[in-house]
Symmetry: C2
Subunit: 116 residues, 2 copies
DNA sequence: ATACTATGTCGTATTTTAACGTCATAGGGA
DNA sequence: TCCCTATGACGTTAAAATACGACATAGTAT
């Protein structure tokens, strides 16, 4: 990928893209949904419910953790992964604003300026 | 990337991940915002407003077009790119449901089962 | 008809993801 | 103590994304 020119975009665009990238894999979407559905959540359980190797799941967990979307607390031999709901609410708001602006735009058609 | 095991996830998870991937680059976020802000929209103008080469922008346009998030109609020497607002509204709904479920989950803390 | 302009296509080098196997570490129980 | 188990770290391979230059094409205007 590389994102060499990333610096030239606005902070909002970069932040939205970062989160979107975090959700850009079905495994990570599934992980978030899984954590949302369970109040208690152990790393091993997550790997067991996904069709991926344990280490691959761990890699996805690390990516989500890098963005602080999820948190992991070591509890003896197991680790409790949890959603960062506070951050998720902020992110939700960002996506909401983005889609509001995008869908508010007049669809291309006979009434549009370009007419296409 | 590869997504070899993609088939093992639900259609919803795959669809969400696909759209998220489309928005996983600041250039594509910027493109959608640009198209939303203008009622008329030409390919060349888009490249001019982004810090990327024309061909790179074209590539991003193609990716958005592959998901049908945007449409392009040839009009003589120029091309009118437009948002597919109908599809965007559907996508917005999917993201909304996803975030609703994620943020509704009780944050990890003293009241949670895991206690972390 | 010719030159100019604006778009699209191709090829490619570099970087990043994805997926997994193997090894390391550390807590708990026999 | 010794072993088992569960997690994390490392290394590697294959596939995909990113970015761009060079070329092709087609419409417009002089």
């Amino acid at each position: 990928m590389s994102f060499a020119k990333t610096a030239a975009f606005t902070a909002e665009q970069q932040q939205l893209a970062r989160v979107a990238k975090a959700l850009a894999h079905p495994a990570r979407v599934a992980i978030v949904q899984l954590l949302a559905s369970k109040t208690t959540c152990i790393s091993g359980d997550i790997a067991a419910e996904l069709p991926l190797a344990r280490t691959t799941v761990f890699q996805h967990l690390q990516e989500l953790k890098a963005l602080d979307l999820i948190r992991g607390e070591i509890d003896g031999l197991t680790v409790c992964y949890c959603l960062n709901t506070a951050l998720l609410r902020q992110v939700q708001q960002q996506f909401l604003s983005f889609f509001e602006a995008a869908t508010a735009s007049p669809a291309c058609g006979p009434e549009a300026a370009c007419g296409c």
